[in-house]
Amino acid sequence: MKHLLSLTAIALCFCATQAMAASDSATGNSKAKIIAPVTITAVTGASGDLNFGTMLSSSAHVVTVDNANGRTSTVSSMLVDDSANAPHSGVFTVNNGGSAAVTATLALPSSATVSNGTDTLTVNNFTSNFPTGSGNINTGDTTVMVGADLNVTANASSGDYTGTYNVTLSY
């Protein structure tokens, strides 16, 4: 019996040794900078669509809507003064939800199209009132106006032409 008790004591001691591992510790540091998103959203409808208005297509011409709601044509007699379909710049709302201004660039499409059934017209030479290169976006909402050229081909079919275009804000 004495011998047996001794073995048990040795076994317990060993177990205790196993439970006491050597330890070391270090405190790591981590960090992150979280910024509020800046979003750009199209204002839709009559107050925000890029609308070239009403026009004739008796001859080819280029209709320009600038970024301040102005409209011209290379053949001015092709423009129709239609109060029910007034020309308008495209309007986007840029929202900076953070607490500080953000520097950003605005990328405009090189071209887009508007179509009516199978008939398509090209829209290009996009412009905006956002600073060329980069600009600061203050906190809160900022309005960005977009203009472009509509290339009307001679004798293009009458009708309502619609299309979409994307602008991308990088910050």
Binding site: D24, S30, D49, L50, S58, V123, D160
Partner: protein, 169 residues
């Protein structure tokens, strides 16, 4: 263990730097539109739609044909015969797609009617309405009246001429 932890932190830091260099994009989806319409043509048939002051004796002055075709003035020199006075009829020919479009008649410039080398002025050319809202019909019309100048000392004859009507829309 320490070395391993340090390597791990370094990797995380590098990742954060890389993220910072990547720009964040936000894209707005805009809409563009345009309306193409057919042209409106201003038409007038010289044989049936002319502004006709009718027949009068030499010496008539200030003969007026209003836009309803009624003749007045002339100081008693007017002659009623088969040459019935009438206002000019101007036709705005168009396709239905321009229905609702408002057309404005620009001021009509003075003109003359002539017979050989003899000339009589025609002034105050006045449309029945300065604006016309186009309908879904194939044409919408308006009329034009005017005033004939003094015929005193003019040779007798049949005088004719034309005037220009320009509309804007």
């Amino acid at each position: 263990m320490k070395n391993l932890s340090l390597l791990s932190l370094t990797a995380i830091a590098a990742c954060m730097v890389a993220n910072h260099a990547m720009a964040v994009d936000s894209t707005g989806h805009g809409y563009a539109k345009a309306k193409l319409v057919s042209a409106v043509e201003v038409q007038s048939d010289s044989s049936t739609d002319a502004l006709n002051f009718g027949t009068m004796s030499i010496g008539a002055s200030g003969v007026v044909v209003n836009h309803a075709g009624q003749r007045s003035g002339g100081d008693g020199y007017l002659i009623n015969d088969g040459n019935t006075p009438q206002a000019a009829r101007i036709k705005l020919a168009h396709q239905p797609d321009v229905a609702g479009q408002v057309v404005t008649v620009n001021q009509i410039p003075n003109t003359t009617i002539t017979d050989g080398s003899a000339t009589i002025p025609v002034t105050t050319l006045t449309p029945s309405s300065t604006t016309t809202t186009l309908t879904t019909a194939t044409h919408d019309d308006f009329t034009v009246g005017g005033t004939l100048g003094d015929t005193t000392n003019k040779p007798g004859g049949e005088y004719s001429g034309s005037f220009d009507v320009t509309v804007s829309y």
